[in-house]
Symmetry: none
Subunit: 202 residues, 4 copies
DNA sequence: AATGAATGAGGGTTCATTCAT
DNA sequence: CATGAATGAACCCTCATTCAT
């Protein structure tokens, strides 16, 4: 019994996804407030009422999109393992960053959502997004602290550097989204790690 | 025709500024969509109709705020002078970055606007904002290219690194805005330049 | 063709009753407009579509409930028999009023419906309700006229007094419904008849 | 300075009244829930937004109508004065009842509102209405108790009789509203008082 | 006969914009 | 110039009803 879903349930799941995708696209285009249920249902090709059959409110779809993306992203991020025998920290880091960027960049709408998530009047959603970014920053910060402890990294203000690094990542994501002839994720990450580890001085 | 304004003109300019300031505060608080003309005119202590005497629409005030801020910022940014006798490139860069950050951080409302002004209903404003950031990125990119040419910097993909650096700056601005006990601009810039030039490896 | 119903027909009748009961409760709780098909089918434990298999619309159930209640009430009301040998008019009246009140008060949902069924969106239902009350008032009016003819009652404007008496009944029903420690139907009717027949003066 | 209102204020008051009147009519026709803002503004010949310039919500107009009516009615009702030298209790009562009925009957829409005030899903409005009727019933009840104390009335259950009397009044109001050839208020009150005081027995 | 997913008209409310004063 | 009452399109959401399964 590989799939436990009867056809009806399956169709519902598909419908839900159809709406989620439409909503994601509209949110990406117009932001939370600018996105109208009208636009979403038009894009999803469904009736007004159908939307509310699957989501209790506009805020609920938004949350759903965010929650799912964040869950997905969380699976790609974990603390660097510094136990003896583990892969080199740089290798671990690289893998995580590549996986994360690949996921984000592959879903343009999601990427735009995450990038511009600024002002939502739905305070809750904004907070949830902030929470996520804070989480990522903390992860980076702890990685930096560990790196300093094991003597891999030079002393620095971890909080500040973490914020800078998160910003860097956002910066390159934006580049990859907006640029048509953007380099591959691999190239991007390589260059970024060089900058972060060695700097740009000769 | 000297630059002195007759009193009537002067009063008008003041009125305009009064509205701009109120609008900036409201936009910063609530985002573009969340900001209502109501909130703006209440804060500016003017009547509904008066607003439209000075600005043709809500979008127009927003544009005006953005344009002015960008003009101000542009005065602080210029190409690094590599002519013999000019100050060291690092010093020039540092000065520009410090001046820019200080301007942005000192005007919290403006900072929030710039950081999160993702979604305007009129595509034009968004585009103008994008253009500005592209401009800044180009400036950084050219600085990098010059640095490589004069042998100061190691070879790298300038576009990519420029995007990363712009992101870094945005990252630390966000930190400074949201954090209450944030470090001073000077400390922040020092740390950032260390990272950019030398990296974090020991 | 005896009056026994085949099992299928029987089941259908039961289903119908189940829905009617649920609807009555919901209407009583929330009023006509406040009652939603949703609430009714949830209470009746049936599917949305099933409802429309038994009733053509929301208004139709409402009508059905009202009609049935009115039919039931009509069985309890008849003209006073003044033929020689019949029970005393007061006794007959008392019996009818007691029976009627007992029926209404015993079914709280029904009582609330009758009391407050002012606004139905279909004018027909409102009219039918009006008709019923008019019918009752006419019955009272004719009783009064008969009473005057046989010299039992003093001369009065029967229409007016009938309206007043119907109002009285409604007034005490409301009291009995809303009050928790309300007196029994018997007590209520006794007091009411005293007022009507003798007045409250010493 | 008889009227302290400048023309602008005056116009506003008129507008407000225009909306109130339209709303009253629509509420009377359709009940609280059945009344749509659409119907109200159509009747008042105003734009959708104008309505909300004068009332913050549908509930607010309803409340306003009720509040005003109740204030008006309260001015007409007071306790019976049994001090020596005061007019006879029956005379006082008669005056109050006549004044009250005349006010209610003269405003058909208001009368219908009060009569059918049954089920509003707006719990607050229902409660406010209930409160009013309870107040009236209490007034009657206290009048009865006083009447019994001073030996004017025979012993009876005041609460019950008060409910009955309030019902009577409602009954005759309904008659006067719905009937085209209804008797005058004076006649109605005379007849009612006869019934209440002396009963209908010969 | 029974289901419940889908529909869309209509609900109340907000708000950028206009214009007579 | 300045005002603020008036406007109506657009907002999010509900719910009676239909119809394919």
């Amino acid at each position: 019994m590989v799939s436990t879903l009867d056809p009806g349930e399956r169709a519902k799941q598909e419908r839900r996804r159809q709406i989620l995708d439409a909503a994601k696209a509209v949110f990406a285009d117009a932001g939370y407030h600018g996105a109208s249920i009208n636009a979403i249902i038009e894009r999803a090709q469904i009736a007004r009422g159908t939307f509310y059959l699957y989501f209790s409110s506009k805020a609920a779809v938004f949350d759903s999109i965010l929650d799912q993306a964040m869950a997905e992203l969380r699976t790609k991020l974990r603390r660097i393992d510094v136990a003896p025998g583990a892969p080199a920290p740089q290798v671990q880091l690289r893998e995580q960053v590549v996986a994360t960027l690949e996921y984000i960049v592959s879903d343009r709408a999601l990427a735009m959502l995450l990038m511009s998530a600024g002002h939502t009047p739905d305070a809750e959603a904004t907070e949830r997004l902030d929470l996520f970014f804070t989480e990522v920053r903390d992860l980076i910060q702890r990685a930096l602290e560990t790196g300093m402890e094991i003597g891999l990294l030079r002393p620095c203000k971890p909080q500040l550097v973490a914020a800078a690094m998160l910003g860097m990542i956002r910066g390159v994501i934006e580049l990859m989204i907006h640029q048509t002839d953007a380099p591959t994720v691999d190239e991007v990450v390589s260059e970024m790690m060089l900058v972060v580890f060695r700097g740009v001085l000769k």
